[in-house]
Amino acid sequence: MILSDTIVAVATPHGFGGISVIRISGPDSKNIIKKISLTNRKNKQFKHQAVTLVNIIDNDGLPFEESVVTFFKKPHSYTGEDTIEVSCHGNPSIVNRIVSLCCTSGARPADPGEFTKRAFLNGKMDLVQAEAVASLIHSKTAEGASLNFKILCGDLSKEMNTIKKELKDLLVKIEFELDISEDCLQPNLVSRSLLSLKTIQATIKTALESHNSVRMLNDGANVVICGAPNAGKSTLLNCLSGIDRAITGPEAGTTRDTIRASISIGGTPVTLIDTAGLRVSKNKIEKEGVVRTKKEITRSDCVLALTPADIPIKKKHLKISSGPTIHVITKADLCTKKKIFYFKNKFPSACIISAKTSFGVPKLLDALQKHMGLFSSLSPIVPVTTGRQNLILKKISCCIQKSTNLLSSKGNPQLELVSFELRDALEQIDAVLGKTSTDEILNSVFGSFCVGK
């Protein structure tokens, strides 16, 4: 509830489009846009309600995108604060890049609904509206905490909790030193603290690496199409990408190398990867193709396991990957309605399609979206929150690094500075998991140490 910071978020739906709009609101918005952009009209830039053409520059000062910037001076903006709107090309990777540049220049990713909340707090609404938003804010607190938690962390929640616990344990030991033990340090305090800092850092690293959706949004998701030879993999690739990307043919083993095509599902860039059919072969080239297929499967975000409708379905065809897999029964155009009904009963989770007639393709796309945990293109939550996760983890990692440096330097350890860094890190996590109060730390000190003379 601190209004003195500056927030940023994408204001238009996530995904590809003609243009996207990024909104920055708060006292620093003008400074932030100045930091990340170049413009010819040095003196006339960013006047109230006027547009300025700028080049957005990356960290090295190189321009990568031309955008139109509009400035609204407080209180004449939606939020009632200084607001910047950046209209850029509607490409998720450009949009995400600009948002993350704003974040490294001092903005914070906005919470869902935060622009409206600010408008409310700045008195930009009449009493009826205000009361409505107020009760909304209130009713959303409990729910919002768990929602935030779920959305912000997803599968990271476990790691976040581990990191929080480790941070807290370490902080308790250090506060004991500062507040109770009057002089001598606990034996091994420094070496043990360094060890726990190392563990925390490792946890953060795995969390950052293992979290897929972040990567998917920046680089796109990889979907591997595989199955026995002549299952119709290349035909499906062509169907989904809408072009004749791969050569198809009635003979098994037409595709020997991996072929890629880019499409967009729900605004997220997806790379489809057509692979060589999985079979035992003596042909050297085809053998190499199978090896490559297996490699792609391990690297994929989702696998489409294809089985043609005209051949009996074996279990081994469905167990190609340990990751998310969708069973796709192809060549539905060869089946009677009765047969399709039979498949639906026997394989309820499978998608029955015909790449030739496009039968069942929309359902396959829905299934893909669900399997990869991508939200619908209308939900602005995904890019904001994933960006936020990354930001939080990186900030924590930075605090941990500083603590490590402080503890590793020669001379008396400046424990109060270490505590400051750890509290800063805790505060980052608290933004997601709820507040740690001073009393909580003190209580743990009293709980775990024999204090007092």
Partner: protein, 626 residues
């Protein structure tokens, strides 16, 4: 209008650390004061440990000193040894402490309160508080005598319905051997205040000649101590040692066998005790795996023949105390002069107060010290001083002294007391201060001088001493901007085994290295500035240390100041006293209840009230400042 008689501007009830500070500051501000106490001979008495200062408390004493209090000055007159605590950690948490001669301390306080013409000490027991028109008008004594006043400060310590426990034996008393007080609690309750019970304890006092010191380790003070007060210039400390010994498994076994006799465990004690100062039976019960606990032997006063046994606070029966302690080799022949005991007393949850320590409902009535649920001499003295200043401001019709979390530990304490639930006696800890890195013992003057100046809390001479120190610190910081040649720098760096530089650089760049001290630039900075100053040498040295800290902690100081800036708008937003929280539909039920009781003065305070969520604050801010 004829004034009723006898009339005083301010009446102070109780002559402990809070009462003494309150009375003296009011006199200093030109008011007539009556100090009412049951026993004028016990004014300024140190009821428990023979030391002043300590972690976070040393900072408090420093702040009291800058705000015109006496605690630091009297400590310097009575100190037996000084020690800078936490020296092995970073400088923002260094805290001074002194062992003092309790007798001299007490005598010095008494001498000070006895001398001013405008301060009359009255032997008596207050049994009733008189009010008229929503404000305080005076007190009634047990003798029936009535006194009149504009402002009343109550500082009763542990005396309100005090009950001492030693084993199963219970005695009504305010302190061992001193009568408790009865009537004030009842009178305050009839005025609508609510009270509760707390408990605290003290360890035994033992005969020095019965201790085998050869079996103890020695704990000496600092060899080159600095005085507590900024204004002490004549100063010598005998540096008497303390001693340390340990309990053992036999001691623990004896205590375990007699645990059922401790009133802490039988349920006889209703009040909650401080967890940070647990009794020995509590320590043994909660940490059964520990085979020993340290015992600190501290002299009560010089040549007293008495030792304060720090670490052995207890309410076990006297015979058990003796038996358990005689199991310690150094105490084999122990003779007990006074057993340890627990004491229960009434306190008034401080959420009923404003941060000025005036009660919210009766104007002119101030409470300070243990009556507010705190513990410790320093906490009490600090509150007494603040209550005294604000009572004086009330009488003089001037603006009150408002301290904040970012300028002092005192401010943290006042804010905590008025917003948080008091579940145990409140003691100051450095971790309670979110801006700990800014609240150093060595910069109390620069944090608080604006208040001392505004409210005329110091003499001209004192004010100029503080100003000189601030100027000296600033001058030394500026002096580090000067660049030195490569040769000059490397000459210094070589001596202390630091990596050399390749070109000339400003001193400040080199000082930021962790192992380089301002003392390494003796000829370039210290000599010139220390020679020129008229400050007492230890204060001048402190200024040098402070300059070094400002440079070394620069990045962190900036980060803390940013944090303060972030919250400043919310901390400045005032809430009207009569704001109707129940009328704001969207506030949570808990927030409505808590806020209606506590009635925070600012939005920032409201935010810190336990049970109030950020969303409640968001809602509140709209309804208050639309």
């Amino acid at each position: 209008m004829k004034r009723p008689s006898p009339f005083f501007d301010v009446i102070v009830v109780g002559g402990g650390h809070a009462g003494a500070e309150a009375s003296l500051i009011c006199v200093k501000l030109g008011l007539s004061v009556s100090l009412v106490t049951i026993n004028p001979g016990a004014v300024g008495r140190m009821s428990c440990n023979p030391s002043i200062g300590g972690l976070a408390k040393g900072q408090l004493v420093r702040e009291i000193d800058v705000l015109g209090g006496i605690m630091g000055k009297i400590t310097d007159l009575s100190a037996l040894q000084y020690k800078m605590l936490n020296k092995s950690k970073g400088r923002a948490v260094w805290s001074p402490r002194a062992q003092v001669d309790k007798r001299i301390y007490e005598q010095e306080v008494l001498r000070r309160v006895s001398s001013p013409k405008n301060l009359s000490i009255l032997r008596g027991e207050v049994v009733k508080i008189n009010t008229s028109g929503g404000g305080v008008s005076g007190v009634v004594l047990l003798s029936g005598k009535v006194l009149f006043c504009r402002a009343l400060i109550i500082t009763c310590g542990t005396f309100l319905n005090g009950l001492i426990h030693i084993g199963e034996q219970k005695t009504r008393a305010g302190r061992m051997g001193e009568r408790h007080s009865h009537g004030i609690t009842e009178s305050l309750r009839s005025l609508g205040f609510c009270s509760s019970r707390l408990k605290t304890g003290t360890p035994p006092r033992i005969k020095t000649s019965s201790i085998d010191f050869s079996k103890c380790s020695v704990s000496p003070g600092d060899r080159e101590p600095s005085p507590f007060s900024h204004f002490t210039s004549v100063f010598s400390s005998p540096n008497l040692p303390c001693y340390i010994t340990k309990t053992n498994t036999v001691t623990h076994k004896i205590i375990n066998q007699n645990m059922h006799l401790s009133p802490m465990f039988t349920g006889d004690v209703v009040g909650r005790g401080p967890r940070y100062c647990p009794s020995i039976e509590d320590k043994i019960y909660r940490f059964p795996k520990r085979n020993e606990h340290a015992l600190y032997l501290e002299p009560e006063w010089r040549n007293s023949g008495q030792v304060y046994l720090n670490g052995f606070s207890t309410s076990l029966p006297m015979s058990t105390q003796i038996k358990a302690l005689r199991a310690v080799p150094a105490l084999k022949n122990l003779e007990l002069l006074r057993p340890g005991y627990a004491i229960e007393y009434d306190f008034f949850p401080p959420s009923q107060l404003k941060t000025t320590l005036e009660t919210k409902t009766v104007s002119g009535l101030f409470l300070a010290g243990q009556i507010n649920g705190t513990s410790g001499y320093e906490e009490a003295a600090g509150q007494g001083l603040v209550a005294g200043i604000n009572a004086a401001m009330f009488v003089l019709n001037k603006k009150p002294l408002l301290l904040s979390r970012e300028d002092s530990y005192l401010g943290v304490m006042l804010d905590d007391l008025t917003t948080k639930d008091t579940l145990e006696p409140y003691r100051m800890f450095t971790s309670r201060a979110e801006y700990r890195l800014l609240l150093r013992y060595s910069n109390a003057e620069s944090r608080l001088i604006k208040h001392s100046d505004k409210h005329c809390l110091l003499t001209k001479r004192e004010l100029s001493v503080l100003q000189k120190k601030i100027n000296l610190t600033n001058a030394m910081v500026s002096a580090t901007q000067v660049s030195l040649s490569k040769r000059a720098l490397n000459h210094i760096l070589q001596k202390i085994g630091e990596p050399l530089v390749k070109q000339k650089k400003p001193i400040i760049d080199i000082l930021k290295r962790p192992r380089v001290s301002i003392k390494d630039f003796k000829e370039h900075i210290l000599d010139e500035h220390l020679k020129a100053t008229t400050l007492f040498f230890s204060l001048a040295e402190e200024a040098a240390l402070e300059a070094e800290t400002i440079i070394k902690y620069d990045g962190y100081i900036k980060r803390q100041k940013d944090q303060i800036k972030k919250l400043s708008s919310i901390n400045k937003k005032k809430i009207p006293y009569d704001f109707n929280y129940k009328g704001v539909v969207s506030l949570s039920r808990e927030a409505k209840e808590k806020l209606s009781i506590i009635k925070p003065e600012t939005l920032g305070q409201a935010m810190r009230v336990s049970g109030v969520n950020p969303s409640d604050i968001a809602v509140l801010s709209v309804f208050l400042y639309r």
